[in-house]
């Protein structure tokens, strides 16, 4: 652990030194992080890679952005730099940028702590020559995280808060709705992460405007390696409407919005 800082009440940014994981990581991938050797909590936690840390243009580490939700994340927040954590990664299939043409407009949509994998994605998009539109929503201004980081990359996020303390009052899906309405016919691709109801809405909005959506899903996970089959979500299989269970850790965490059965 290089650094651990609280960036808002209940939200933490953890910097880990690991050239191996950092150099192999792609946006949307995650790591399994075991908080300590105790049996309570027993299981490692899946955590999105928030950004990579570079030194002299070499990737030397990565950050994790998380919210204290329960015992595991509380214990993690009590750890300080210099301590070691057992981390396995990078894991999973991240956002797929290969099929996106140069004329495509990426639209990055984050709700709450769902922005965690999106900063790394925004950086990667910029690196590849796209300038994504970024739409971020949270409960309140206090929980709108990492705006400075997006802005220092040259991006100007449109923001919403449910209490109206900053940006448009409402949900990030309201922002997305008006954004898509203003740019009818845009050739774009939506990348989103956030709570499940938000993602379901994003998938239907993207579909309504004829855009593909790539959504990063969350599920309880035991191994992260594809072995336990614990983290499945409902996915339409290739034939169409047939249900199949696919592993968030291996086939995901990023799935096409149209394939997800909510």
């Amino acid at each position: 652990m290089q650094k651990q800082e609280s960036i808002a009440p209940g939200y933490w940014l953890l910097s880990l030194h690991s050239p191996q994981i950092a150099s192999a990581a792609a946006p949307g991938q995650f790591v399994m992080l075991k908080i300590d050797k105790s049996f309570d909590p027993l299981l490692p936690r899946p955590m999105s890679i928030h950004s990579v840390i570079k030194e002299d243009n070499n990737r030397i580490g990565f950050t994790i952005l998380y919210k204290v939700m329960g015992k595991g994340t509380r214990l993690l927040s009590e750890k300080r730099s210099g301590e070691s954590l057992v981390v396995i990664g990078p894991l999973g299939k991240g956002f797929n940028l290969n099929h996106i043409s140069s004329g495509c407009e990426p639209i990055v949509v984050g709700g709450g702590i769902g922005i965690a994998p999106l900063l790394f994605l925004a950086h990667k998009l910029l690196e590849r020559g796209w300038t994504p539109s970024v739409l971020l929503g949270a409960n309140s201004q206090q929980e709108l995280l990492r705006l400075d980081e997006f802005e220092s990359s040259g991006l100007i996020p449109k923001v919403s808060t449910e209490d109206g303390s900053k940006g448009v009052k409402g949900m990030v899906t309201d922002l997305l709705g008006s954004y898509l309405e203003d740019r009818k016919g845009v050739h774009g691709e939506v990348f989103a992460c956030g709570p499940s109801p938000m993602l379901e809405k994003v998938a239907s909005q993207a579909k309504e405007y004829g855009l593909n959506s790539q959504l990063s899903l969350e599920q309880r996970m035991a191994c992260g390696l594809g072995a336990c089959l614990g983290c499945v979500v409902r996915i339409r299989d290739k034939e169409g409407s047939q249900l199949s269970f696919q592993r968030v850790c291996t086939e995901g965490p990023v799935f096409n919005g149209e394939d997800i059965i909510w």
Partner: protein, 309 residues
């Protein structure tokens, strides 16, 4: 004093030879290949595949797992790719490793087990079958095969007739007296027994008032169940003459030795693979080091060596 030669780690389970007593347990090690990036499978005594049946099984809807104090509940619902896909897609890669590949089989009725055993009997590279008798029997109203001594006997006897592969029968702990089931399996021709499978449990999310698992109930595993498993291994070892493979919450070298002392000839590592994914490899090294330090020339000397006076 340090033993001059390397201690003997190999064991024999009544027809199944293992290079050491550390086996990765079914359901926690996928089809083995998932763990290839983490270690050399050839170093392990063996690995048991995810439970396989004659068809592709989709399993239960999510959420399928839930963490509990020192343990976890799962209701995966026996999802698997099916025996045919296993044979064509997984086994050719697995047999490149010099480890005992033990295929866990299950069914909804006895005929499913018979077909699985017949199909796998003809396949090269399989060291043994582990028969999961903790499944609901649709012909008996969903009653678990392995909770009835006579059903257990019939099932194991039928499978026994169809294969010359060593049979390890995996017992459920959700019974009044596990030794009765153990003896039925032995009488029906099991080469060895593995115990225990998960303990049936449940959890409720107070904030939503809903069960934590979509299936409502699930199997409890992990360190939380270890004393129960150890007790059952100890009791069963006194009632049967076939070897026992102990499992249930094993998470350290000390745990391995406890199970050997209680009468297990080998152990399986299950849930620990999830929170400590290189544990199987480490235990092989640690066991060897322990034997050396304790001047024990053969791991078999620990089996049943509990001191009771």
């Amino acid at each position: 004093m340090v033993a001059e030669s390397s201690p003997i780690l190999s064991i024999e389970l009544n027809g199944l030879k293992l290079k050491n007593p550390i086996i990765a347990a079914s359901g926690t090690f996928g089809y083995g290949l998932e763990y290839v990036p983490l270690g050399d499978l050839s170093k392990l005594g063996g690995m048991v595949t995810k439970g396989l049946c004659m068809w592709e099984e989709k399993g239960n809807p999510p959420p399928r797992i839930c963490e509990t104090p020192a343990g976890m509940l799962n209701s995966i619902g026996l999802e698997n790719i099916g025996i045919e896909n296993f044979i064509t897609e997984k086994l050719p890669q697995l047999i490149q490793y010099d480890t005992a590949i033990i295929v866990n089989i299950w069914g909804r009725e006895i005929d499913d087990y018979i077909k699985a055993a017949e199909r796998l009997d003809a396949v090269n590279g399989i060291a043994a079958l582990e028969v999961n008798i903790s499944c609901p029997n649709i012909k008996k109203g969903g009653l678990t095969f392995g909770t009835d001594p006579s059903v257990t006997f019939e099932l194991v006897q039928q499978v026994r007739k169809r294969t010359s592969l060593p049979l390890m029968v995996k017992l459920t702990p959700n019974v009044t007296d596990i030794t009765l089931i153990a003896r039925s399996a032995e009488d029906a021709g099991a080469n060895a027994l593995s115990l225990i499978n998960t303990l049936l449990g449940m959890e409720i999310d107070v904030s939503t008032r809903r069960p934590s698992l979509a299936n409502i109930t699930g199997g409890l595993s992990g360190p939380a169940i270890r004393p129960v498993a150890l007790r059952m291994v100890y009791q069963t070892a006194r009632q049967v003459n076939i070897p026992i493979v102990g499992l249930g919450g094993i998470s350290s070298l000390a745990d391995v030795i406890k199970f050997l002392l209680a009468g297990a000839s080998a152990v399986q590592i299950g849930t620990a693979n999830f929170f400590d994914p290189t544990i199987c490899w480490r235990l092989v090294d640690e066991l060897e080091e322990y034997l050396r330090n304790e001047n024990i020339s053969d791991v078999n000397q620990l089996v049943g060596a509990i001191i009771e006076e």
